[in-house]
């Protein structure tokens, strides 16, 4: 019971702080908006090319947006030594990780859900009936990115070169997530039957599980001696 309460408290604290200062969500949102605008003014895409290119463009925007948000995930903890409180509080460190992960994944999903209609608008995407499957892919990829991002954010938050180190650590390991997300999104956009791209979704789920389990286990060693 205490385990789940810790997750709830951490997620509550992150959501409340974010609602008040909107630091993360606004920087993520405006970055992604700029990406959309640049791509939409750079290409005039016919529907076929659009189907080919859009998955990549969407995941460039979401991926880098995620890096911006996830990289700042533990910054609030640096002030007033709150990271130290996480260390000495008699709470399971894995629960602290899951609480931070839940908050991060939720922020990313909120930004993605707000931005996707803009992609539809700017690039004339005809995907309305495919939205449930697209959302499923968003959720699966966001879980994997947040799982890794939360871990590396905790790992790099106390080092001076954190803004350089965070993407260097995150991006190589996030490659399977990006490949899975782009290929699955392409399958949906092309109108392929599910069996043709379901392996990519399975790949996302498998990497989600691997990253979650490993990060959950490793987090204790990051926080404690």
């Amino acid at each position: 019971m205490h385990f789940f309460n810790v997750i709830r408290w951490i997620a509550w604290k992150d959501l409340l702080s974010e609602l008040r200062n909107r630091e993360n969500i606004s920087s993520m949102f405006f970055f992604a908006l700029i990406v959309i605008l640049i791509f939409s003014f750079s290409f005039s895409l016919d529907p076929k090319t659009s189907q080919e290119l859009m998955p990549g463009i969407i995941w460039i925007a979401f991926g880098f947006t995620g890096i911006i948000g996830l990289g700042k995930s533990f910054l609030a903890e640096v002030h007033n030594d709150c990271m130290e409180y996480f260390q000495i509080v008699p709470a399971p460190k894995g629960a602290i990780y899951l609480g931070k992960f839940a908050g991060n994944a939720l922020f990313m999903l909120i930004v993605e859900v707000i931005l996707f209609p803009l992609f539809i608008l700017f690039f004339n995407l005809d995907v309305l009936e495919k939205i449930p499957m697209i959302l499923l892919i968003f959720v699966a990829a966001t879980i994997g990115l947040s799982a890794l991002g939360t871990l590396f954010s905790a790992l790099t938050v106390q080092i001076r070169a954190r803004e350089v180190m965070f993407p260097i650590l995150l991006l190589p390991l996030a490659v399977p997530i990006f490949i899975g997300a782009v290929e699955a999104t392409r399958g949906v956009f092309s109108g392929d039957p599910l069996p043709l791209y379901s392996d990519w979704i399975k790949l996302l789920v498998v990497f989600d599980l691997i990253f979650m389990v490993v990060s959950f286990w490793v987090f204790e060693f990051i926080l404690d001696y």
């Binding site: 702080s17 002030h79 000495i88």
Partner: protein, 225 residues
């Protein structure tokens, strides 16, 4: 029974030996005051007891639990008031308390929190965001948290730092009350006269060695180190 026991504790940073086989014992319901010059290792010793630093040698027990192998049990037994306030700037005083104690598995009611805040003299600021608190108010808030947690062992680093005269008296009244109830208090301080009002035993840490001294010496000795 010993509530805190340090057995030949050593700690060095790079080649600098801060603690050199320091042994001591603090009984249940005792207030032990540690003095020493700046850089003597008082905070280091306190942080070892709080399970924030791993000693390079020796071991310690808190409430009968091994400080190195049973860290979770040790953390359940103690509460640390240190230089860091462990507060989130975007949360109010009330929310910060709910969060900090929630992570420990506690669930104090609002009237209980209000009572504790009133006792430390910041009841009127319960709804204020913690970023607006002064250092002294943050210290009082930490004491309010300790009142709500009611740990077996209270570790107080620089017990009177940032507190005004009333704050110091309030702190001493609190230490007197909780030690009578059986709580063990371990403090580091510089104010000999104020500390002598509450300490049952005292020690001086200098050049890595701990020397016990009588509380009366706090008032009569020309120089402690």
């Amino acid at each position: 029974m010993a509530a805190i026991q340090g057995i030949e504790l050593s700690k060095s940073f790079q080649h600098f030996q801060v603690l050199n086989r320091v042994s001591f014992e603090v009984k249940e319901g005792e207030c032990y005051a540690l003095f020493g010059p700046n850089g003597a290792g008082k905070t280091t010793l306190l942080r070892i007891l709080a399970t924030l630093h791993r000693p390079t040698g020796g071991r310690f027990e808190i409430g009968g639990y091994d400080g190195l192998r049973e860290r979770m049990k040790v953390r359940e037994s103690l509460f640390l008031i240190s230089h860091g306030s462990y507060l989130y700037d975007d949360l109010s005083v009330l929310e910060n308390i709910r969060f900090a104690i929630g992570l420990r598995g506690g669930n104090p009611t609002d009237p209980q929190i209000k009572r504790a805040l009133d006792r430390v003299g910041i009841g009127a600021f319960a709804a204020l965001k913690s970023r607006h608190l002064s250092a002294g108010m943050k210290k009082r808030l930490s004491i309010a948290k300790a009142m709500l947690v009611r740990p077996k062992v209270l570790l107080l680093d620089e017990a009177y730092a940032s507190l005004d005269e009333r704050g110091v008296d309030m702190m001493n009244a609190y230490i007197r009350e909780v030690t009578q109830e059986g709580m063990t208090v371990f403090i580091t301080a510089h104010d000999r006269a104020k500390t002598a009002e509450v300490a049952h035993r005292a020690g001086v840490l200098n050049r890595g060695e701990l020397r016990e001294l009588a509380v009366s010496e706090l008032l009569t000795a020309h120089a402690l180190f």
